[in-house]
Amino acid sequence: MNFKPVIRIIGFLILFEAMLMLLCLIPGIYYGEELRGFLLSIAISLSVGILAAFSYRKTAYSVGRKEGYFIVAVVWLAFSLIGTMPFLFTHSLDSFVDAFFESMSGFTTTGATVFADVEILPKQIILWRSLMQWVGGMGIVVLTVAVIPMFGAGGMQLYSAEANGPAKDKIHPRIKDTASRLYILYIACTILEIILLVAGGNSFYESVILALSTISSGGFSSQNASVANMTPYTQYVVMTFMFISGVNFVVLYMAVRGKFRIVAKDEELRNYILIILVVSLAIISINLWKHGAFDDVELHIRTIVFQVIAFITTTGFTITDYSLMPSASMMLFFILTFFGACAGSTSGAIKVVRITVLIKNSYLALKQILHPNAILTLRLSKKPVSEKVISNVYAFIVMYIVIFLLGALALTFFGHDFYTAFSASALSISNVGIGFTQSGMLLDFSSFPAASKILLSIIMLIGRLEIFTILILFMPTFWKK
């Protein structure tokens, strides 16, 4: 393992993080807040970043497969550790564990928070939380590949280690150009959402916070009630962009380029839309059956569709107290927690494409029993899927379930009840950020013991990096020359 390029890349990213912190000074200056905490964070990041990035200046950037996985894991950890500084230095949080949980929840776009009241926080901190999510949404390393020009062949190793989903689609032969184009699209979507939110009467600051958290499928809000108290127009805009954030950005890029045939052929996108429609209809029917006629039909449909999209895209915004809904509706929300949206989107969890492969393969297995001699091929978007991909999908899902269950088991040892342990483990591995307790919604983690917060932070990272990237580091063969 060559550690020199690892240190250089981490140094560059710390410098980038310092730039992000600098942006947070803008609302601080505008609203006349104390800047000392952020200034201290920037000064440390700048000094450490320069020392790390330029101490091995003559080192080539090219990294191998092993270094790629190692860099991705270490970079996410380093980003989260540096991200704790603004919380600690502004005294928004006094405990390092709380700050690490909030930071990890931000960068992994989970959106779980330890703040019981976000409305009393300095505006700089609220922007910092949303910025962390925005950077984490597209992936810190995809950003590295896009902005650090010195990457050679190693760019692909990093992209493969971080990009989500079973297939790592490219829109340009050069990985650097693929990453750059995805980032441009990501920025364009963010700006478009800000414009639409401002047009709807929201303040510029509020719009920026909301847009950064929506497009990254993060879910941090500047209000305690998430988006529940916002206007229907704002909720519709947020809902639309949550949906967009769940679409594969390569497919979105094709749509923007007018290649609608390719978009229409995408089976995962079709299934993603189908799941949203079917689950929304099911929950509407269940609620209608339990409560009788709705007083306000539009409000009820908007609320349910919004919450379904918030769960499936793993954004985790709340528009209503979903824990008051019938148990069957809550169960559907809980199941959605594991689904996730499309691969190559900013969402977390298992992803629709893997669920599709799993279901199709199970169907083929049943068919094979009836026709033992038939040669059956699993197809996705009319293309055959290799055995290797199917095997990876199965391995991923099995490991996902095992980590989720072990996480829940460990939480019960830390004193949590059965309900909370299951929900907290699920919302962390899927990066949803919201869940259920026995008595209502699980939104605030401030009362959780430190051990639970550390465990959940690790689970969030494992979920965000799609399990393999982290688990591979624990294999003895990984460290052999």
Binding site: L15, A18, A43, L46
Partner: protein, 60 residues
Amino acid sequence: MRTKILLSVALALGIASLVLLILNAADQTTVTTLLVIGLVCVSIEYFASKKTNSDNEQAG
């Protein structure tokens, strides 16, 4: 040479800001200015090395 000068300036400004903040010896505006200059130096170096790299790629 350019890299050495820019990065040394940025590093010096970063450490100076840190010391000033710890000793509480300067106001927020001064420290903000120092840090902005430091990050501008880093950005100039970043874009200059990007251009050099792009030129080298084209030449190659």
